[in-house]
């Protein structure tokens, strides 16, 4: 193992982390504002993938444009679902059983709708970018991963801007901290929750579209990513956006470098092991560690 291989792995890990962050951030928004663990996240990742696939195959729309289109479409789907289902379950400061099961049911419906429509064969989006690479010195960059990484960064920067520079962003952050106090301060909780749910679903769909450019997919596509997203937000302390970035980086590094020691068949067990480790060692996530240090100083 020489230094070049190590650098290549490091680059691969960082590129992966960008996508992971974009994939998990939707779950964090929804958890933060509505205190719901969005198990249907996996279903929307899958739908995002097929959305871009269909646009590319039928209408020959470039997958990158497809990703951009996915955001508003999935935002509308999210808002509609909130109106149809989510607002009917009682609100709580803790994730409730009924919300968990409701979204699990939604996941089952989406996944099996996927099977009904597209069957269970593997699909992939192949463009001229898929297999091209370029080199800087000895380090190889796969073009598609770089493109996906850039798209993920743009969407995260957009979210960061909305959260910290707009009135809506302030209401979202207020509700994440204390929904009762937010209500007293005059925030329309219902409206904010609806928009937040829409944004969460929009991020899920967009991330699914991005992942579809890198991996092949079936209607079962989202399942393994759902667990990864959950590991990331637990590592990040559930409600912190900076935590999501750190969690994504940790998971991507562990997954990428574990190839060196763990046989590839056992790879899917890694995210779970990391989750257990995170729960035992850092119940409040990496961000909790950070907050604790701030409190001490």
């Amino acid at each position: 193992m020489n230094i070049v291989d190590l650098l290549n792995l490091l680059v691969a890990a960082v590129l992966l982390a960008g996508v992971y962050a974009a994939m998990s951030v939707g779950m964090t928004i929804i958890y933060g504002v509505l205190k719901i663990v969005n198990l249907a996240h996996a279903g929307f990742l899958m739908l995002g993938a097929y959305f871009v696939y269909e646009l590319y195959n039928r209408l020959h729309i470039d997958p990158l444009l497809g990703v951009v289109l996915a955001f508003p479409v999935f935002f509308c789907i999210g808002v509609a679902l909130h109106w149809l289902l989510i607002r009917r379950i009682p609100r709580s400061d803790q994730p409730t059983l009924s919300s968990l099961l409701l979204l699990f049911g939604l996941w089952l419906v989406l996944q099996n709708l996927g099977y009904l429509i597209w069957g269970n064969s593997d699909r992939a989006i192949l463009t001229h970018r898929t297999f091209s690479t370029f080199q800087i010195g000895p380090i190889i960059f796969p073009t598609i991963r770089l493109v996906v990484f850039a798209a993920a960064l743009v969407s995260l920067a957009g979210l960061e801007f909305v959260l910290h520079r707009t009135w809506f962003g302030r209401t979202v952050r207020a509700l994440m901290q204390n929904s009762d106090a937010g209500r007293i301060a005059g925030i329309n909780v219902e409206r904010t929750a609806q928009t937040a749910f829409g944004i969460g679903i929009a991020f899920a769909g967009t991330a699914g579209a991005l992942l579809a450019m890198m991996y092949s997919f079936t209607p079962d596509f989202g399942g393994s990513f759902l667990l990864r997203a959950f590991v990331i937000i637990v590592l990040g302390g559930l409600e912190s956006f900076a935590g999501v970035a750190i969690g994504a980086l940790i998971l991507a590094l562990v997954e990428t470098f574990s190839i060196l020691i763990i046989p590839s068949g056992y790879q899917p067990a890694i995210s779970f092991s990391l989750l257990v480790l995170a729960l035992v060692i850092l119940p409040n996530g990496v961000a909790g560690l950070w907050n604790k240090r701030q409190r001490w100083t």
């Binding site: 663990v37 198990l39 289902l85 009917r88 379950i89 803790q94 994730p95 059983l97 009924s98 968990l100 099961l101 409701l102 699990f104 049911g105 939604l106 996941w107 089952l108 419906v109 996944q111 099996n112 709708l113 099977y115 009904l116 399942g223 393994s224 759902l226 667990l227 959950f230 590991v231 637990v234 046989p263 068949g265 056992y266 790879q267 899917p268 067990a269 995210s271 779970f272 092991s273 989750l275 257990v276 729960l279 035992v280 119940p283």
Partner: protein, 326 residues
């Protein structure tokens, strides 16, 4: 303080109340004597295996409110342990006990880290566990890996023996569920479901109680998996560890009536019969249907089938009373 006698609601049901279930058990036990076709017995056998798993899940998920998406882990471990013990020449009952022990150890490994925290951690972690265990079993060479594991049958296949094992196990599971529900342990579980802080203040140890319920449910589920493996004589990682097994075990009690004694039984029978009809013609459609059903149940009738029956019964009685008075 006076020791007040337990109210009728919290005591073990009287003889009159326990007569219908015992009658049902007797009828089921006599069915093979009427010599129905092997297909009917197979259907009953499968339903009884589901009843065991469903009732087991309900002890943890219904009474204590700890939803697990990973009971296929115990079902599969039970199936594999039984299969390997049978091949090693151990008798059927002992191999079921071994299966239960393996599952209890697994339940502790899952529960020890995840029950320390509240909220969704346990539920999500169980999704990960079942995924990880299936992957490991697919790659493990001494269990046959992805190609599965076969039990070498000794002697002739006796379908009635398997049927009675499933019936005995299901009856035991329901009996355990009743005993748990009306014991101090069951009250502690319900207290945890209602309000964990309050339960803790009243002297319940939520961590230990949840672990115990998890272990009990795991042992029963493993025995169900073991009985099934003994019948099919072949176990396969994506069969017994499949996510759809976890989904089924979760859905049955919720369809029937989560947190009740008989709801999970009803749910399992409904699920078993409907699935048999649907899975052959529409392999994916039944999960779509169950997903939709789950959404409807959560939104409109959290009590499931039992809740619906209860409500319509009260509605009819109220109607009759109005009719009498007018």
């Amino acid at each position: 303080m006076n020791h007040t006698p337990p109210s009728s609601k919290h005591s073990i049901p009287s003889l009159a109340k326990s007569a219908p279930p015992l009658l049902l058990l007797a009828i089921l036990a006599l069915i093979p004597l009427a010599t129905p076709g092997p297909n009917t017995i197979r259907l009953l056998f499968v339903s009884l295996v589901w009843v065991t798993a469903s009732v087991a899940w309900n002890i943890l998920g219904g009474f204590a409110g700890q939803v697990s998406f990973g009971f296929a882990v115990f079902y599969g471990l039970g199936a594999y342990t039984t299969a390997m013990s049978l091949n090693a020449g151990i008798d059927r009952l002992t191999s079921l006990v071994l299966a239960a022990i393996v599952a209890i150890i697994a339940s502790l490994l899952i529960g020890l880290p995840t029950f320390r925290l509240r909220g969704p951690y346990f539920a999500i972690a169980t999704i990960g566990v079942s995924e990880a265990v299936r992957v490991v079993m697919t790659n493990l060479s001494f269990t046959g890996g992805a190609s599965g594991y076969r039990i070498a049958e000794k002697g002739a296949f006796n379908q009635h023996l398997h049927f009675y094992m499933a019936l005995g196990l299901a009856a035991a599971a329901v009996a355990i569920s009743i005993l748990v529900r009306y014991s101090k342990f069951g009250l502690a579980l319900i207290a945890i479901h209602e309000d964990e802080d309050a339960a803790s203040d009243l002297g319940v140890n939520p961590y230990g109680t949840k672990l115990l319920a998890h272990a009990l449910a795991a042992a029963l589920t493993a025995a169900a998996g073991g009985v099934y493996a003994g019948y099919s004589a072949f176990v396969h990682p994506s069969g017994v560890f499949g996510f759809d097994i976890s989904v089924a075990i979760l859905l049955m009690p919720i369809i029937g009536g989560v947190g009740t004694i008989w709801g999970p039984v009803i749910g399992a029978v409904v699920y078993g019969l409907v699935q048999e009809e649907l899975i052959a013609s529409f392999p994916q459609f039944h999960l779509l249907l169950y997903g939709a059903l789950l959404i409807l149940i959560i939104l409109f009738e959290p009590g499931g089938v039992l809740g619906l029956l209860h409500r319509s019964f009260h509605y009819l009685r109220a109607r009759r009373r109005i009719a009498v008075h007018s």
